[in-house]
Structures are given as structure tokens and as C-alpha cells.
Symmetry: C2
Subunit: 153 residues, 2 copies
């Protein structure tokens, strides 16, 4: 394939699913892959995440669990509270894949380049050691795009 | 993570989405990744695929398009006709991720090992150069598992 200018690397770092009961589903994945049950973590509060959903601060959180495979990570997400893109997906679509994630160096620049293509930020936030933005691409790509980057400067 | 016996490799080869209009959605992916529009192919007929859906021969087909990224391939699938797991997903869930795929050496053996864990084959078929089986894991893993293997002997 010929490459032209694109804001995204051609590598998917994570595939993430929304689930209703993370402990139950994580156990199924652990058994399937023959690995230990991963630790389930809970995202921080608004004071640390500065989470924005559709441009407005939200107190929503999520439980997360990760399965690090050889070439990609499977992430399970159980929404806690609302509003969030996680809870909206569960309410409107149900359980299943919510997004694929890409590691980028400069999240602001990538957001701006995607905005030129008509893609907008649905939700964003910080976590220990990094930050994320969800790009709403459901209409065009049939899933959302997550940008993962170093901490915002 | 500690490994015990597992029938699947810890590497995902494909992530596949069901779409309503493959040319439109493939163009969106091509533009996002800055690559050429991929060729859209149509699966063969029953005489070549020997496709079974829930154990019964089906004449359903699909249009397929592939984006080969560095670490994984994105597959788009537009169902043609029924019955198929592709059309059922479109009817019951809508557009979005249907399965993740794993390359296995012996598809029969892998099916049998997964059967011991309670997973059953939802659909299977042959294609030029190989064969596939979809394992229905929607209840437990929130998506289906595809096994990809060399041609059935």
C-alpha cells in the first residue's frame, strides 16, 4: 500500500471491549489464553483524570483489565457511573468492541490533523504516566479511535 | 502472565468488522491510514467454500476488504445473502467488530480443544489457500473467535 500523509501509525496497540461485569469476562479471557487473572484497576477521580466527555467535566469512572498478547493488548472496560463514552456504548450498543487504540507522540497535533478530516474528540482524560483521547469515528469507521500519548505538557 | 495449556496462540492476526456498505467504509479507512483503496473481493460459492452455518450448508457470501497494518490486519466484511454469522451480526447488533482471528496449525484439533472449554463452531468454510472456523464466544468473550488454518486435509 502506498503511504501518504496520515496522522496515525499503522500499528494498533489495543483493542478494547465494553463489558457489563469485568471480573466474569476477564476470567473467561484468562482461561481462554491460559494466563493468570489480571488485576482489575479502577480509574482515578476527576481531580486526577480531568476527564471531559463531549467537552464537559465528568465524574464517571471505569474498571479496567488488560491482557498483553504478543502483538496487541486486549483491554476490558466496565463503566462506573456516567456520563462517559463507555456507558453510552453499553446503553446503546451493548457489550463488545468499543475502540482500537494508537500510540501517538503528540496528542494535540494528532487531534488537530484528525479534525481536518472531520473527526472530533468524544472524550479525553489523563492517567498516571499518560493521557488519552477518544475520537468519535462510529459513523465512518464503525468504532472509535483512541489516541494514547505521554502526559499532556 | 503464567502460561498453562491453551489452544490459541497469544497473537491476534485480524480484527474484523461487519459493515453495510464496504466500498464506503473501506474508503474511510484508506483515507485515515493514507493508503490506496484495497481491492474488494467476493467469497466463492458453496461448491468451493463448503460453507456450513450452524451445521447446515449455506449459499451466503460476503464482500471482503483488508488493511494490512504493521502488527495486525483490519478486515471489513459486507454480508451477501443469508444465512451467515455475518448477516446475523448486522441484523442483531449492527455494524462493528464481529471477531478477532488467530492463526492455528490444526483447525480440527483447536476446535476440539475449545469444545472442551464449551465453545462451539458457529460457521466454517474453505477459501483458496486455507480454511476458517468461527467459534461462537459472544456470551463469554463478547465477540467471536475466528480460527484461520491451512487447507483442510
Amino acid at each position: 500500500m502506498s503511504n501518504t500523509t496520515t496522522p496515525l501509525p499503522q500499528k494498533i496497540s489495543q483493542i478494547a471491549l465494553i463489558v457489563r461485569d469485568i471480573e466474569t469476562t476477564a476470567l473467561q479471557y484468562a482461561q481462554l489464553f491460559g494466563v493468570d487473572m489480571p488485576q482489575v484497576i479502577i480509574t482515578d477521580g476527576q481531580d486526577k483524570t480531568h476527564m471531559l466527555h463531549k467537552g464537559k467535566a465528568s465524574d464517571a469512572r471505569a474498571k479496567l483489565a488488560f491482557f498483553h498478547l504478543e502483538n496487541i493488548t486486549i483491554e476490558l472496560i466496565e463503566p462506573i457511573g456516567a456520563p462517559s463514552t463507555w456507558q453510552e456504548h453499553l446503553d446503546q450498543v451493548g457489550e463488545g468492541v468499543h475502540h482500537i487504540a494508537f500510540d501517538v507522540a503528540d496528542i494535540k497535533q494528532t487531534e488537530q490533523e484528525l479534525a481536518k478530516q472531520g473527526y472530533s474528540v468524544e472524550q479525553l482524560g489523563d492517567f498516571e504516566g499518560g493521557c488519552y483521547s477518544y475520537i468519535n469515528a462510529t459513523d465512518r469507521l464503525k468504532l472509535q479511535i483512541e489516541l494514547l500519548a505521554p502526559p499532556r505538557s
